[in-house]
Symmetry: C2
Amino acid sequence: MLDLAILGLLKEKPMHGYELKKRLSYMLGHFWSVSYGSLYPAMKRLEKSGSIERAYSVKEKTRHRNVYRITPKGDGDFMTLLADKVPVDSLANTDKFDIRMAFFQYLEPETRLVLLERRRACLEEQVDKFKAYRKSNGDTDRYRTGLLRHKVDLARSDIRWISRLIDQERETIRKRDGVSPGRDVEPEGKEEQVTAASSA
Amino acid sequence: MLDLAILGLLKEKPMHGYELKKRLSYMLGHFWSVSYGSLYPAMKRLEKSGSIERAYSVKEKTRHRNVYRITPKGDGDFMTLLADKVPVDSLANTDKFDIRMAFFQYLEPETRLVLLERRRACLEEQVDKFKAYRKSNGDTDRYRTGLLRHKVDLARSDIRWISRLIDQERETIRKRDGVSPGRDVEPEGKEEQVTAASSA
DNA sequence: GCCTACATGTAAATAGTTACATGATTGA
DNA sequence: TCAATCATGTAACTATTTACATGTAGGC
């Protein structure tokens, strides 16, 4: 997840560690935060693997900063992390999904659509599990049941939001393809592996 | 967090690891889940520290199960983990707060009240940060701004829910104290450290 | 006879934090 | 001159997962 975030931010512009951390907590800090003890080693690792490279190291005015930029290989890695073989757990976990979504601009509508639909399926499954628990149980704890009920409300709210986004993506595809005879029915085919789409 | 969950479940009844894992994923699995590689070592650790003890080890019908029960020391530890010196991050993180809330029944109304108010403060701070980001920025990304907007909605929904719970706790206290001259104003005093309250 | 669920555990890897260590620059 | 912020990093620790290893019991 950290690699994805670093790569994604470096796509915007070259940055050094300190700046990256600020952008990171400013942009994603609401669902996530990193410490230097995690960030700097990650950057070194990414440099060693060739995903990012030192754009320049300055002692401009004696201040030393190591500015990194993303490489073509890093760009490929980013796309893979973002949309290729996305594990179920990355779609089920809200924070992880949110980080991914922060970079949706780099995906093609079709890929976004698949990810959004998979996310919605996770949320629906969650709601079902909540309901099953509330039905079948002997748990009469006031706080537990109240919490579960609230969780169901939030999940449903999430589902409505995702559904609106799905509609928008479909609309985008329809427009781009020039109002095709458009069956509005989903392909409903085998859950094919999402493949990394090139940048917009 | 794992220790809190294990101790909390063993307060209900003695259990062995496998059973504990099932209860754990059934009850808290919506926000959380544990693996055996995490659970068994944690149980051994808790046993060594004297928080839980082996109720009995059976080979009943050749099947061996190690059933653990909570000790008086473990009960104290549980209360400390649940309500004593609760770090801010445990109130700010939704999942962590939810796990804590699953055991609210064991706290006194006053302690619940303090925790709920601290949680609400975290959520309000979050909303402010979201709004600050949206105002001050140069981030015009469609998906990022949409995500933030949705997050604000959810946080506000959370705040309303917590507020209702706060009202209920205050009502509980008022009733218990026999309709005191009740100033509805919050004490608004120094953020005192919450102290573990004995079981209900 | 085989698959699923029961039951316990270890070793290695993963992901991250906290605390430490260092030092320059800027503004009040 | 003093505090805050800029800037980079390491070492030790925490928590947790995955994969492995082992074996029993019950139902089809």
